[in-house]
Symmetry: C2
Subunit: 342 residues, 2 copies
């Protein structure tokens, strides 16, 4: 049985959920992949813990101050990094240094936070290609909703003509409240904040930046595009007026904040803004925490996926799906098909 | 550049569409997979054509009588078989002999017709495992709708608790007509037959056997179950009465013929029958030729996929997705990652 050493950088709710699920799934990894998976290091921004023999769940409550940073991960002997730190697409956030370090060293990397990938995606993609590291990002590109999976795997061989996605839960909640409870934007926002459905500073969601970030990741890593935030027209929901709401209600249309992308002659145009859907469109019924993507291709027509996992478990599961794909790819490279897809 | 020789057995509408798409995509195969794909043989039930240098589209109109059967395919030198013949789940149909021959010889095989797989799925699966042949069946398991893909790839690592699928277009048309045009079953069927949406003998669709067949393939090849038709309770739409329709209309429920599957303690229970959905459920809006699947897992909640490709192109594209997965897996086995997923 091969030993696989995993480190997790970024140890908030999602990082912890990923650690827990990883440890719980060890029997599966042994059985399906013939792999003894060890969690050899975890760290947040100020504290961490490492053990080359693997950390058990009970030890993850007491991290040691100072054990953090790319050099700490490097020293842990991990051969797979899971990056789950805070996300900042304007600077790349703390994830950027972890990703550069891991990918330069040829370490296979699973990314959950979007910031570094939006900020420096094509650079990181090229770094991975030149070092031979696998770079996976299901957790960052809409988590449990399959997005890049569909492009790479389910629609393989088809030409993608158009994508649209409902990729942000907060704006779903707000638009639902404005439509169904007759609230203005400010009132809907205040209630969402009180209920924990919106951040204290909600602009990353309401102004469309979160949706734009996910769309950029889907385009750059699923379609090999080279989009940056500057290439997108990004409009949020903050300017949706009561008049808009009243008109949509009258027409029986449902508004959603949508990231969209059109490809013509090799060029990719992308935007974020409100679109409306008739009640007969499945997109009209993607509400609350649910997310959805519609991909139109030359040969398979429209393919829609709708996801509704509970966080942070669903995101952890998305990251660990990437882990299994890495294990399968490694096994294939090693010349035997154990753990592969049928 | 490696040469890959493909044969197609079963040369009706879908087989021909697959041949055309395969030939059209040759530049892609060269570029992405470094593969020179040659269509070395095609055959229907009575005639065929073979050329070790590859057949061009213009030659496919004039098949030669007598060139058909597993021995003909064997002699063609093909190293990948695409089986697209008529489907009969009670006997296995003509596909069964082609599949047994190809899989015994270790030839990678892509199956489009359901019959042989429903009739002898676990046997064929075991045959493939023992010879090392890859056996792919996207085209048979609901074609452009991703089903086994989701189970194997997008939901990897999760435990599947439940599946439900709208997998048959004819019953979609009929139920839509009964609900929206106020027609009884017989009248709806007569109109569907006149419009080309239902077969002269519609029972395979209306009695639920087609849905059951797809469900069995999803279970046996996506979840490694061992279901046979005898394990399923199969009810169709032929007994839906005007009273049912009136009651559903009054309650604003939408009926669909659904294949469903529940897994508890390792056991799989499967059935086909009419279920109804409220207007807020995306399943209520899967109509006409569209198909859908909802998969509930322990860690990712509900994942829905909806597909709406135009036939026979979409089915051809599903089969050729399988072809690319085979090319990628072969490249990985050969020790280099060209053409692989990111």
């Amino acid at each position: 049985m091969k030993i696989v050493r995993v480190a997790i950088a970024g140890f908030g709710g999602v990082g912890r959920a990923t650690a827990t699920l990883l440890l719980n799934r060890r029997p599966r990894y042994r059985q399906v992949h013939d792999a003894d998976i060890r969690l050899v290091a975890v760290c947040g921004s100020r504290a961490g813990l490492a053990d080359p023999d693997g950390l058990e769940a009970g030890r993850l409550e007491a991290l040691e101050p100072g054990l953090t940073g790319p050099a700490f991960i490097e020293a842990s002997g991990a051969d797979i990094l899971i990056e789950a730190g805070p996300s900042d697409f304007r600077t790349g956030g703390p994830g950027l240094a972890y990703l550069r370090s891991a990918l330069s060293a040829g370490r296979d990397t699973i990314v959950i936070s979007k910031g570094a990938l939006v900020h420096s995606g094509p650079d990181l993609r090229d770094l991975a290609r030149s070092s031979g590291a696998m770079l996976k990002l299901s957790g960052a590109a809409a988590a449990a909703l399959p997005t890049i999976d569909l492009l790479e795997h389910s629609l393989r061989g088809c030409e993608v003509l158009e994508i649209e996605g409902i990729l942000n839960a907060t704006t779903n909640y707000l638009l639902d409240a404005m439509m169904n409870q007759n609230l203005g934007f400010d009132e809907a926002l205040a209630r969402a904040q009180a209920g924990g459905f919106a951040e204290a500073d909600p602009r990353n969601d309401t102004e469309g930046w979160d949706t734009a970030s996910k769309l950029i990741l889907i385009a750059n890593f699923g379609l090999d595009a080279d989009l940056t935030m500057d290439d997108l027209v990004v409009e949020g929901i903050q300017s949706v007026t009561e008049q808009c709401i009243a008109a949509w209600r009258k027409q029986r249309l449902v508004p959603k904040l949508v990231g969209s992308l059109v490809r013509t002659d090799g060029a990719t145009r992308a935007a974020v803004g409100v679109r409306t859907y008739p009640m007969t469109d499945p997109f009209a019924h993607v509400s609350g925490k649910n997310k959805a993507i519609r991909i139109t291709t030359d040969a398979m027509g429209e393919t829609i996926a709708i996801g509704s996992g509970t966080e942070p478990l669903a995101t952890a599961a998305a990251a660990l799906k990437d882990l299994e794909h890495i294990l399968t790819a490694r096994a294939a490279r090693a010349g035997h098909g154990s753990g592969g897809e049928a």
